[in-house]
Symmetry: C2
Subunit: 195 residues, 2 copies
């Protein structure tokens, strides 16, 4: 695993281009130009387009996993960690307004292509779903934890989609506040049940 800088650069640029322009619309040439290498060199590192896609998905998975790991170690409460998740929408506001959610848009595209990578893209959803479920469980939501996780995932997806469609509006901030309020309500309800 020499991790030649070039390979990493390819994954980085492919990651960005797949997000900004979509997987199918991004060609070998696009990525090669972005990295500043020739198509021939490209082929040395990745034999097929699917190999790049796999590498991009792995990159996204490990990026997100690291982010969740940091939140775990910062010693916050589950409630605060879920709030951090919701606030991703604000942290990445500019990009989301331009290109939507990287997870949702990649999955949607691969799903329409009947592409094998669809399963890889779903793993990105799984990562957040499982993590959210664990946080809700730690909050004392017991058997509802997975439903709550799915609910929050769906809300986030919807907000990202509409923020992309109407990028000039204050809608995103408003919805984030509503989700945080919803989270407080869920936490309060869980406290009552636990007492």
């Amino acid at each position: 695993m020499p991790a030649s800088g070039t390979r990493d650069n390819i994954v980085t640029e492919a990651d960005r281009l797949f997000y900004e322009q979509g997987f199918e619309h991004t060609s070998f040439q696009h990525v090669a130009d972005a990295v500043g290498i020739s198509r021939g060199n490209f082929y040395y590192h990745f034999k097929t387009k699917d190999e790049i896609l796999d590498a991009v998905i792995e990159r996204r998975l490990s990026d997100r996993q690291e982010m969740l790991g940091v939140w775990e170690m910062e010693g916050e409460t589950p409630h605060q960690r879920i709030a951090s998740f919701v606030r991703i929408l604000i942290m990445n506001e500019a990009k989301i307004r331009q290109f939507g959610c990287p997870v949702g848009s990649l999955f949607l595209e691969l799903s329409k292509l009947d592409h094998a990578g669809e399963d890889g893209a779903r793993r990105l959803f799984d990562l957040f779903r499982t993590w959210l479920r664990q946080q809700f469980e730690a909050m004392g939501c017991g058997k509802d934890a997975d439903d709550l996780a799915m609910h929050l995932l769906a809300r986030s997806q919807g907000v990202a989609t509409l923020a992309n469609a109407y990028p000039a509006e204050t809608f995103l901030e408003r919805e984030v506040q509503q989700m945080l309020a919803w989270l407080d309500a869920v936490a309060a309800q869980a406290d009552i049940l636990t007492i």
Copy 2:
């Protein structure tokens, strides 16, 4: 406007293929094969791919507008009409599980392509947004009507996205019930304010 059957067939098949496989991934050849005509005949009806896209968007717009019109004429209350909107998710459950939301997925794709048709696709969102706003206004939600419309649109988008990612689960029905309950709460709140 002779409305030769062939032209209508082209729009119908293109509409379906754009939904199922995406706009970019669908070629002239795909549509021609689906309709059962030659590429040459195709060119007689549509000079460019963008012309087909425009026609498909117009078709989707008029289809949805008609649907909303029917709900208006059935003499239901605004509350019941909005509930009908929410239940689209259940009516089209099978397709949504397979291909997601036709409005959201088309917009997302065109947005990534920086395609001029993006504006056309946004008009589909606008159609529902405006209609929902009017219903909420009629329910007495006054200045919140547009926010509520956007909220419900976002929720629906999110549910469609996750139902597409996890097609085998009961998530969709559960979320629809929650949206209907939310709608009841909004209505009750509006009633209090109106009294």
